[in-house]
Amino acid sequence: MVTWMNVGWVEVRASRLNSRSGIPLRGSRASTHPTGVPEIAKSLLALACICLCVSPALSMAEEPQVIVEMDRSRIYQGESVLYRVTLNHVENPSPPELAGFDDFDVTPLGEQSLDSRRVTIINGRRTETVRRGRAYNYRLTPRKTGMLRIPAPTAEVDGRVLRGRELTLRVVAPEDQDLVQMEITVDRDSVYPTQPFTVTLTVAVKGLPDPSSSREPLGVQSSPPALKIPWVDDDKLSDGLEPAVDWQHWLGRLQDRRGVGFGVNSISRDSIFSMFESQALTFRPSAKRVTRRDKSGNEADYWEYRFARKFDPKQIGVYTFGPATLKGTFATGTGQAGRLTGEDVFAVAPSAIVTVKDVPEQDRPDCYIGAVGRFRLSAKLMPKKTRVGDPMTLTLELQGKGSLDGVMPPDLAGVPGIAEQFKVYEATEDVRRGTCRFTYSLRPLVEGTKTFPPVPVAFFDVDEDRYVTLRTEPIPIEVAKADRLSGRQIISGPGSMGRNHKELEARSEGVFANVTDLSAVRNESIRPGRWLAALGGMAGFYLALALVVARMQRLSGDQSRMRRRAAAAKARRRMHAALDELKSRDVRRGTDNVQAALLGLVADVTNLPEAGLTSKDVGRQLAGFGVEDDLAHRIVELLQTCDAAQYGVSSVGPDELRQEARTLLDALIKTLKRKRLFR
C-alpha cells in the first residue's frame, strides 16, 4: 500500500520508503520527511485549528457551506500551495467545481470524509451532534508570478449553487541575483528508444568574499540550501522513462554524512533519538571551481555542483525535466568581527526537453521486427533429420541490449525458400529481459530439402543510427519421404501438394502414425530396488577393498613382521650352507653357520639384534616362547658345542653335529610355527 501525504511543495511517501533499501535506510528506520517538518506541522496545525474553530459554529448553524483554506499566502515561483475546499453539512456531496483557475496547474490530492457523530450525556440528558461533510484537497502550482487571484469554488447542493470565498496568493519571481546560477542540460536532446541520455542539473554558487574565498561556500551554511529536483522520485517519472539506477543509489553516492551540501526534495530519515523527529539528509556532488560571468557581466569565481542522472527511454514521447528550484541563504559579504553576512536566495533552473523519437521510416527493411538497440541473432532447428510432414521446431533468439517492446515475430512465409518448402505455423514469442525467443512449428513439404534457408531479422541500431539486418546461418537438414505416415490421417506427400494445397493444410493436424518397428518394443521397466542394492553393494565392495588394501599396505611396512615371516627360510638357508661345510670337514665355518642359523632364527622371531645373542639368551628366549625344556636344552647345548668346536675342544664329530643341528632346527621351526610366532 502506498500512502502519499502532500503538504505544499513537499511530498512524503512513507510506507514505500520504509520498505526500500537505500539512503534513508542506512543505520536507521528510514522514511522521507520534508526538511521543513515544523513548517509542514504548522501548516497542518493551522488547517486543523481552522477546521476545529469553524466546525462548532458551523455545526450550530447546520447550513451547507463551502469553506476554502490555503496553507500559505506567499510562495516563490515554482512552488505549490495546498488548497482545501470543505463542503460542510452536506450529505453525499459532489466534488466542487474549480472554474477560472487558469493561472494554476491544479492537481487533485484526494478527498476526506468529515462525517462524524458525537453523543454526550450530562445529568442523564443525552445530546447527539451529527456532522456531515467532505474535504477536497488540491495542489495549486502557479503558472506566473505576481499577486494571483484564486477564484471562489462552487458546489451544487440539493439544487442550490454554493460559493466559497476568493483567495489571493502572492507568487514571488526569482530575484535578479548572481549568488546562485542554475541550469538543466541534457547531453542529447533527441534520442531513439533505449538510447540513454543524461540530464544534469548544475548549481553554481558564487565564491565567498575575502578572506574566506578559499573556502567552499556550502561549508559555511547554517542550514543546507533546499533543492527541488522533479526527476528524483522514480515513481513520478513518466512511464516511458527508466533511470539507469534507482534514486537511492544515485543520490546515495552523493550523500554527505557531515551534513554539508544540499537538501534534495526534503529527503530525510528518522532520527535514532526520537520517533517523531527526522534528520534531513544532505547531498554534495564533488565541487569544481570555475569562472562565470556574474549579473554585471564581470568574471567571477564560482563553485559548480553537478547532479547528473542517466535515463533509458523506453517509449516515444517528449519528456520535460524541470524546472528545478533552490532556496537557501548564501554569503554576500563580511560583517563586523569577520562574520559572514548573507541573503536569502530563490533560484530557478528552466526546464530542459528531451524528445524520444520513433525510428525512421526511410530505409526500413521489410524484416524489421520492432527491436531497437543492438542484438545478436541465433537459430536452432530440431530435429534436423525428418520426413515430409513431420513437425519441426525452429527457435529464433534475439539477444542483446535494447528495447524489445512490441516486437513481432519475423514473417517466415515471406522469406524466399521457406514458404515453398515448409508449412509454417503461427509463432509463439517469449520476451524476457534482453532476450526475445520466437518458436515456430514447421512441417517440411518437399522431400530432399537440404538446408533451411537463412532468416533475415532487422533491428534499429541506435548507436549507428541505421537499420541492421542480421541473417541466421543456413541450417543443413535432411528431409526424407513420408513413409511413416498413414495416408488416411496424416499429412499428404509432396505429390499431392501441388494439386490441392488446402487439403494439405486441413490434414496437417491429427495424430502421427504408430511405432511399427518391433525392435523399438522393449521392456523398459526399471527395478529401482534391485538397482539400488547393486549400487550399494558396489560401494560396499569398494569400501571393503579399500580397507583390505590399506591393511596390506600397513603390514607391508612392518619391518619386524617382515623379519619374522622370513626367519624360517633364512635359518634353513644358513643351515644348508653349514651342513655343506661340515660335510666338507670345514668344522670351523660349519659350526659358525650352525650358530648363525639358530641365533638368527631366534633373533628374527624376537626382533632382536643377532650379533649380541648368546646361548644363554637363546635358552631364555626359547623358554619365553614356551618351547619344551628338552628341545631348548638341546639347542643351548648344541650352541655351546659349536662354540667349543670353533676352538677345537669339541668331542662331537662333524657328522654327529650335522645330524643334531638339522634335527634341532627342524624341531625348533616346527615348534615356533605351531606357536604362530612367524606371523
Binding site: R522, I526, L535, V549, M552
Partner: protein, 272 residues
C-alpha cells in the same frame, strides 16, 4: 632382499587389482541387466503385431478401442514400453478418448522423451484439452537433462557412471592415486547428480499418482459426495490433468495445475 620382497608385494597387489578390475568389468553388465529393461518375448511381439494390424484395419471408434485394448494387454503382461504406450495413445485418440490418450502419451513420454511424433501427438491431444499441467520447477532447470533422457536411460547412465567411478576408485587404491582418486571424486559427483535425476523421475511417476479427466465435463466438489457444493465455478473438462492427493472410496481429491483442489468421482478420471 627387502627390495625383492617389496617388488613381490607390489606384483601381488597389481595382480589383485587386475583381478578385481576384471571382476568389476564382468559384473557391470550383469549389474545393469539386473536393474534395467530387457527385450520382449515372442508372444509379446505377436500381440504387438496383432494390435497394430487391428489399428491399421480399424474404421470405427470401437475398432480403435479394440486395438487399444490389445496394447493394454501387453502392458498388463508387465511390459513397460514407450512404443506400446504411444501406440495405445494413438488408438485412444482415434477412438475419441482424448483424456485416456493424454494419460497414455504422458506415460509414453517418460520412456520416449525425444520422440517428435509423440510430442506432436501429445500437443494435439492437449490442444483441445487446454494447457498442459506440467510446470517446470527449479530442480528441472538444475537437472536440465531431466526431460531429455528417458527413465531407463537415466538409470543406465547412472549405472555406467557408477561402474566407471568404481573402476577409477579401485585403480586409485593401487596406482596413480592422486589422478585416479580425483577422477573418482568427479565421478562420484556425476553419479550423485544422475542418481538424483533418476530418483526424482521415480518419485514423480511411481510415488505420485497423476490423472486425467476422461468425461466430457466433471463437476469437482468440495467434499467426497454429490451433496457438497461445486469446488469451482466451471466444471472440469476432458483432458484436464491433475495430481491425486487422496482417495476415499469412489472419490478422488485432485490437485490441479493452478493449485486448486476438489473432489471428483473416481470413474470420471484415469489414473497413472
Amino acid at each position: 632382499m627387502s627390495r625383492t620382497r617389496l617388488a613381490t608385494t607390489r606384483l601381488a597387489m597389481t595382480r589383485l587389482a587386475i583381478r578385481i578390475t576384471t571382476i568389476a568389468a564382468v559384473a557391470f553388465p550383469l549389474f545393469t541387466a539386473a536393474g534395467c529393461g530387457t527385450s520382449v518375448g515372442l508372444d509379446v511381439s505377436r500381440k504387438f503385431q496383432e494390435a497394430q494390424q487391428t489399428f491399421d484395419q480399424a474404421r470405427s471408434p470401437e475398432d480403435f478401442l479394440r486395438a487399444a485394448a490389445l496394447y493394454q494387454e501387453i502392458i498388463d503382461q508387465g511390459v513397460v514400453s514407450g512404443a506400446v504406450l504411444y501406440n495405445r495413445g494413438n488408438a485412444l485418440m482415434e477412438a475419441g478418448q482424448r483424456g485416456r490418450a493424454i494419460a497414455a502419451f504422458r506415460q509414453a513420454k517418460r520412456y520416449r522423451p525425444r520422440d517428435p511424433y509423440l510430442e506432436a501427438n501429445l500437443r494435439y491431444a492437449l490442444a483441445a484439452a487446454g494447457p498442459a499441467a506440467r510446470q517446470r520447477s527449479i530442480i528441472d532447470y538444475l537437472l536440465f537433462w531431466q526431460d531429455w533422457l528417458s527413465y531407463s536411460e537415466k538409470f543406465y547412465l547412472t549405472a555406467a557412471a557408477a561402474a566407471a567411478t568404481f573402476l577409477l576408485g579401485v585403480l586409485g587404491l593401487f596406482a596413480w592415486r592422486k589422478l585416479f582418486n580425483r577422477l573418482a571424486l568427479a565421478g562420484c559427483t556425476l553419479v550423485l547428480l544422475l542418481a538424483l535425476s533418476a530418483g526424482l523421475d521415480w518419485y514423480r511417476y511411481d510415488c505420485i499418482r497423476h490423472g486425467v479427466i476422461v468425461r466430457e465435463e466433471v463437476v469437482a466438489r468440495k467434499g467426497n459426495s454429490t451433496g457438497y457444493e461445486p469446488a469451482f465455478t466451471e466444471p472440469l473438462t476432458e483432458g484436464a490433468e491433475f495430481r491425486l492427493v487422496q482417495r476415499r472410496g469412489d472419490w478422488l481429491l485432485v490437485h490441479l495445475a493452478g493449485g486448486q483442489e476438489g473432489w471428483i468421482e473416481a470413474d470420471s478420471a484415469v489414473l497413472y
